[in-house]
Amino acid sequence: MEVIQSGIGELIQPPDVNAFREWNRAKPKALIDKRMTEAEAVSRFIRDGDYIGTELYGTVRCPMSLINEIVRQGITDLRVAGQGVFELDMLLADGRVKALDVTYIGLEVYGVSNCLRREVESGRVETCVEWSNAAIAWRFKAAAMGVPFIPVRSMLGTDTLKYSAAKVVKCPYTGDPICLLPALILDVGLIHVHRADIYGNAQIDGISGFAAEMARASKRLIISAEEVVSNEEFRCHPDRTIIPYYLVDAVVEAPFGSHPGEMCYVYVRDEAQIREWVEASKEIETAQAYLDKYIYGVSNHQEYLEMIGQEQLDNLNRMAKRETDERTTP
């Protein structure tokens, strides 16, 4: 099985599956009350220089209250798995990112990310390594499996592969070239869910993105949840548990934790707020003013929500409720 090609991108986080095993062995398996605030979770579990990842995607079920707290606490030199929209823009806007495994960083319908442009074109993001969306998710999947790599048929033949840290080998079964992706083990994973219990068991409604894979690929895992519910909810429906408690280090109760993004069946996205950022993000100064107002100007997520206003939040709830009704009554 010869190596035909090796991507020239830096392997930012090497797939040390044996060290990951030792780490996982040491994690407590007892049922411990892990509830804490965003401030405590971030200060206890995230350090300068950590390799972090967020799930799902900037404006959908995204741990925004945790991201805002990372910015607020001044955590920096972060290395980041960059499948992101709004959440990575916050970190980039404040210059907190040193290295990126990048697949897509942009504003979807609103186009390219000016924060990404400024940080990468200026060289302040020192390292960029290219991947496809599925490649990043598959790298988590490899880590979640506990193996150092995973074979896929994406990226072959392209510059995306050339500027990645993937390898192409000859398959020992078919003889065809196949791409091997290195496992991506996160120092810290951040996932927002619909509900969790105090120990960290978590449920997600609707699509699950790459939550199962990323949760299992994280050395430290911070869960924020719209709602903290009783352990009984899980024991009665164990097949709904997507993240079991022993993976989790912190449980943060964060209603509207994905704002201004959406949380399916709970609230829709806050388009006005998103547009405010899209406009603000165009220039360094206006971007900084946005951060000053919405992150530095408040001391926690509760104050942030107060600034958004109950009326607006109710409105976002109501619109999601309407979608849900339509779902069940065609």
């Binding site: 990468v120 074109e121 290219e130 994406s154 990226m155 699509i207 790459f210 779902r327 065609p330």
Partner: protein
């Protein structure tokens, strides 16, 4: 709703006005047959899929990267993971399941965009300029490379000009036919896959069966062939008969404006 579904495209009496985005949407929608699978991103493909479902393809199976399969597109998602992407869907799973489904050969059509395209349908959405000293850092592959690798037939939707239609893209983010015939298979990509169409504001283009180079198949309504050439930065092959697309019908425009995008988020 049923009576609004058509399987034919009628030219309306009189002249209709429509904008370039509406034209792209209607042209793309017509390329989506009923009862097939299509990997849909946000933006124009999403609107086109919704229009197709309401016209001739009520059972078009939409597939969204982050987990939605078979959604009924009642509303337009602004995010590829939004509730609309799995609204009344048959399944809501995750990205690995979806892309692996494509990798297993289940997804017929995939829709793509990009900042640059070359004669072999290779697409760039990563950087303009040199990779190490980029003039413009673009968002990156996202799902594009996956779609371009695994779907049987990909359809690129782009505005056409010489900056975008170039002899050589600055960065091959997403594989088209790479360097030409046989190159995809040699690289290990699944046999039988590759670019199928490019839909632009000026034309619909395909690929030559042998050379795998881009071929002009049809012009958009009222666009002379010369205008297509003038907006292409490489030598374009031409089909024996170049069709002229029929313009969007009154029915298409009505459904597009009143149902598909009633809040005019895109059009």
């Amino acid at each position: 709703m049923k009576e609004q579904r058509h399987s034919d495209f009628q030219t309306p009496p009189g002249t209709l006005t429509y904008n370039p985005t509406e034209l792209l949407i209607c042209t793309a929608a017509r390329l989506m047959p009923d009862n097939t699978t299509a990997f849909i991103g946000t933006g124009i493909p999403m609107l086109a899929a919704s229009l197709a479902q309401k016209m001739h393809a009520p059972n078009l199976v939409t597939v969204f990267e982050f987990g939605g399969t078979g959604a009924i597109l009642e509303k337009l998602p602004l995010a590829v993971g939004g509730e609309c992407t799995f609204h009344r869907a048959v399944a809501a799973s995750g990205i690995c399941d979806i892309v692996e489904t494509a990798q297993r050969g289940f997804i017929e059509y995939g829709f793509l965009g990009g900042a640059q395209i070359d004669p072999y349908g290779n697409l760039n959405s990563t950087v303009i300029g040199d990779y190490c000293q980029p003039k413009v850092r673009l968002p990156g592959s996202g799902g594009a490379n996956d779609v371009g690798s695994h779907c049987w037939q990909t359809i690129a939707i782009m505005r056409q000009d010489k900056r975008r239609f170039v002899e050589k893209v600055d960065f091959v983010t997403t594989p088209g036919y790479l360097s030409g015939p046989g190159a995809r298979e040699a690289a290990g990509l699944p046999p039988g896959t590759g670019p199928y169409r490019v839909v632009t504001n000026l034309a619909v283009l395909g690929y030559h069966a042998e050379s795998k180079r881009m071929v002009l198949l049809a012009t958009q309504p009222g666009i002379p062939i010369e205008q297509v050439f003038a907006n292409t930065g490489f030598e374009l092959l031409v089909a024996e008969v170049v069709e002229e697309n029929s313009p969007p019908t009154a029915k298409e425009l009505q459904i597009l404006r009143e149902e598909v995008d009633r809040d005019h988020l895109y059009i």
